[in-house]
């Protein structure tokens, strides 16, 4: 968090420098803080552009929660964006301009996300946005689209984007409707969960958009696959205790309960289930299928629990690109493992965005929102020359070749709504660690 705060201060400080001191002092300030940040900020171009720090830079907004319960999302995404921005800048930038990052902290709250978005769009004049999450998507999407800001989100699976997007909004993460379908499929079929064919399922879903988005896809798919949904409960998030809710869940006698809730509420719910002698299994979404959840829970509660994750994309794994990315990001960010949630999605989002910008520049057009947004699907769709990184793609576009970006999470071929399909991995918890129980290719859904 320390680094992120410093950076935030740097950016706001830089802004104060521009407005209040118009130039020299702002430049000094930026140079000073530049040493330990990765994105060459205003420092480089204050030499050339007299107006002030960063005026000539291409600014990319990272609009995510950096503080609060979902601070981990920003913490997982930002270093990846920084690493790629550094790669872009080391290669001479885009169209001769350096790229810099501006953080907008949504705090995972609609109110904060609106003001963060307004700042990015109206004050910082960002050229594109990485983010936001599902939690704040509906609060900010109209502002972004109306201001013609291209958005590539590595984090928003919300079904509310299923039939929106494709013009300005794209995502490098599967829609929750696919995720929900994957949960239903995996629960129904032993070959994907390695335990049994579950027939009776209960659903406990937090009463926020980010959770509710999963409810209908899971429910309808599970019935479509021949299962019975014993109860579908909306639960209020952030309660002290879920004893009553767990009791009514158990009264419906399910074999497995799908838990779509925050890590904290999930701990309370699963422990309440244990205390009350619940004997069925649990199935969690991407939100809880992480080490954070297991390390805060008792193994007796979580053993055999199932979880959903994005699966590794076979071609990326076989070519060693995935491991290459993990090595690079662990070294760059000082993480102990590279496979953090949303890290690979972010890699793809930022590469696609960078390539789209370099495509626009190669075509000799201005880097306006509509131009960049229009280029995003073209750099990711076949049948042109396949590329797997920004550097490789940028030199190809500079030569006038059309490229098809192949990502880490999938081939990244955006459909008309800006969505992608990607395989899922079904995880099973055992003694405090997740391991893969099965794999669901998009065709199985």
């Amino acid at each position: 968090m320390g680094i992120e705060r410093r950076r935030l201060i740097k950016h706001t400080g830089g802004l104060a420098g521009i407005t209040a001191l118009a130039g020299c002092l702002g430049g000094d300030g930026d140079d000073g803080s530049n040493g330990d940040t990765t994105a060459p900020g205003g420092g480089d171009d204050t030499d050339t552009g007299g107006g002030g720090g960063g005026g000539n830079n291409i600014r990319i907004g990272v609009l995510l929660p950096f503080s609060g319960d979902y601070g981990w999302v920003g913490a997982n995404v930002l270093p990846v964006v920084e690493m790629l921005v550094e790669e872009i800048n080391d290669g001479g930038g885009i169209d001769g301009r350096q790229v810099s990052i501006v953080q907008g902290d949504t705090e995972a709250s609609p109110d904060a996300s609106v003001s963060a978005t307004n700042r990015l769009v109206n004050v910082e004049n960002v050229s594109a946005v990485i983010g936001p999450t599902s939690i704040t998507m509906s609060a900010v999407i109209d502002t972004l689209v109306e201001n013609e800001v291209p958005v590539v989100t590595p984090t928003a699976g919300t079904t509310s984007l299923d039939d929106r997007g494709g013009e300005y909004v794209f995502r490098t993460v599967s829609s929750d409707s696919l995720g929900g379908r994957a949960i239903a499929r995996a629960a129904r079929d032993e070959q994907y969960n390695s335990i049994q064919d579950y027939e009776r399922m209960a659903l406990m879903v937090g009463n926020e958009e980010v959770f509710q988005s999963f409810k209908e896809p899971i429910r309808s798919s599970f019935e479509e696959f021949g299962g019975t949904v014993t109860t579908t409960m909306d639960i209020r998030t952030g309660k002290a205790s879920y004893t009553s809710e767990v009791q009514s869940m158990m009264d419906s006698d399910p074999e497995i309960t799908v838990l779509v809730a925050s890590v904290e509420d999930s701990i309370k719910i699963t422990e309440a289930g244990f205390q009350a002698g619940y004997e069925g299994n649990w199935f969690a979404t991407q939100d809880q299928t992480n080490q954070d959840f297991l390390s805060q829970s008792d193994n007796r509660v979580t053993n055999d629990m199932l979880g959903l994750n994005a699966a590794t994309y076979q071609p990326a794994e076989e070519a060693g690109r995935l491991q290459g990315f993990f090595d690079a990001i662990t070294e760059y960010a000082g993480w102990d493992e590279g496979s953090r949630v949303f890290a690979t999605n972010t890699y793809d989002a930022m590469n696609v965005l960078g390539l789209a910008m370099s495509q626009v520049a190669a075509d000799g057009d201005d880097l306006t929102g509509p131009n960049v947004a229009a280029a995003i699907p073209t750099v990711a769709r076949p049948p042109e020359q396949a590329v797997t990184s920004y550097s490789e793609g940028a030199s190809a576009t500079a030569d006038g070749t059309d490229v098809d970006y192949q990502g880490l999470v999938g081939p990244i071929d955006f459909d008309d709504d800006g969505d992608i399909v990607a395989p899922f991995s079904i995880r099973r918890a055992q003694d405090g660690a997740w391991s893969e129980a099965g794999r669901l290719p998009p065709e199985a859904l």
Binding site: K239, A240, I267, K268, E271
Partner: protein, 292 residues
């Protein structure tokens, strides 16, 4: 089956009522003697829970066993209560209830943010074992839930003995009844006020620990959020009346659990207020009107 569920829910209400009762007694004691509602009281709960976690986790170099850690945490928060009252409340104690009340809101923010700055906002848990419920005369409870009831009842009993059988209790009652008269009678009321602050804050800390045992994981905002439930119990019992607060706490605890089980689980804390509003409309002085 239906009756079993009803009894079970009722007992869950008593478990939570024990937590509320310990907190409500502490709050109402400090009100009885100082005559203002202390909004910083919720932070005593939070500090109790967090200190217990950290002391058990080796804050002072050694990891103390949890019961010892809890006792140390409760004592420390008691001292914190005395310190807070000396620094913030005593200097303005002659200015009336309203400045004190506003000050206590400020103190609450200071304490909460100090804690947040120190430990961050991550959720914490007390190192208590996770247990399956056992059958006690047809009611399912974990041993920890039984322990919470026992601690609650013992605390009530101690407060009762303190008020009725000790010199301090008599001085507290005298100070509460009429401070000037108590002073004329030779009671060092300032000393009584400080001792009351200690007991009040310590009770708050104990309540916070009990809360943390039942409702883990928790965050720094936990005490302030739970304060409204404790207020409800305190006001329901007639503020400043310890016995009323105990009774009010169990009514609120049972109402919250019955409401969650039979109406809708989404409004747990709202049921506390429905009861409170109803009682206040009919009997504004609370259910127990007598002195303490």
């Amino acid at each position: 089956m239906v009756l079993d569920n009803l009894i079970q829910t009722f007992v869950f209400g008593i478990v939570e009522g024990s937590v509320i009762a310990v907190g409500a007694v502490g709050l109402t004691l400090s009100y009885g003697v100082t005559r203002f509602i202390n909004f910083a009281y919720g932070e005593f709960l939070t500090y109790g829970a967090y200190l217990a976690v950290f002391i058990a986790g080796g804050l002072f170099g050694v990891s103390l066993p949890l019961p010892v850690a809890i006792a140390v945490a409760v004592l420390l928060v008691g001292l914190l209560g005395v310190a807070v009252s000396r620094v913030f409340f005593e200097p303005i104690s002659h200015r009336g209830a309203l400045p004190l009340l506003i000050t206590s809101i400020g103190v609450s923010f200071i304490l909460r943010n100090l804690l947040q700055g120190w430990v961050g906002v991550d959720a914490r848990q007390l190192p208590v074992p996770l247990l399956r419920r056992k059958d006690y005369f047809g009611v399912q409870l974990t041993e920890l839930e039984v322990a919470v009831i026992v601690v609650g009842v013992v605390t009530m009993l101690l407060v009762h003995l303190l008020l009725q059988r000790t010199m301090l209790g008599k001085r507290m009652r005298a100070t509460s009844g009429n401070r000037s008269l108590a002073e004329v009678a030779g009671i060092d009321t300032q000393r009584v006020v400080r001792q009351t602050w200690f007991i009040s804050a310590a009770a708050g800390a104990l309540s916070g620990v009990l809360y943390a045992i039942l409702f883990a994981p928790f965050r720094p905002g936990v005490g302030f959020a739970y304060l409204i439930v404790i207020f409800a119990a305190t006001l329901l019992g007639g503020i400043g009346r310890p016995y009323g607060a105990m009774l009010g706490a169990f009514i609120i605890g049972i109402a919250m659990n019955l409401g969650s089980a039979y109406l809708s689980a989404n409004y747990t804390r709202a049921y506390a207020f429905v009861i409170l509003v109803a009682v206040l409309l009919v009997r504004p002085e609370g259910i127990r009107g007598g002195e303490f």
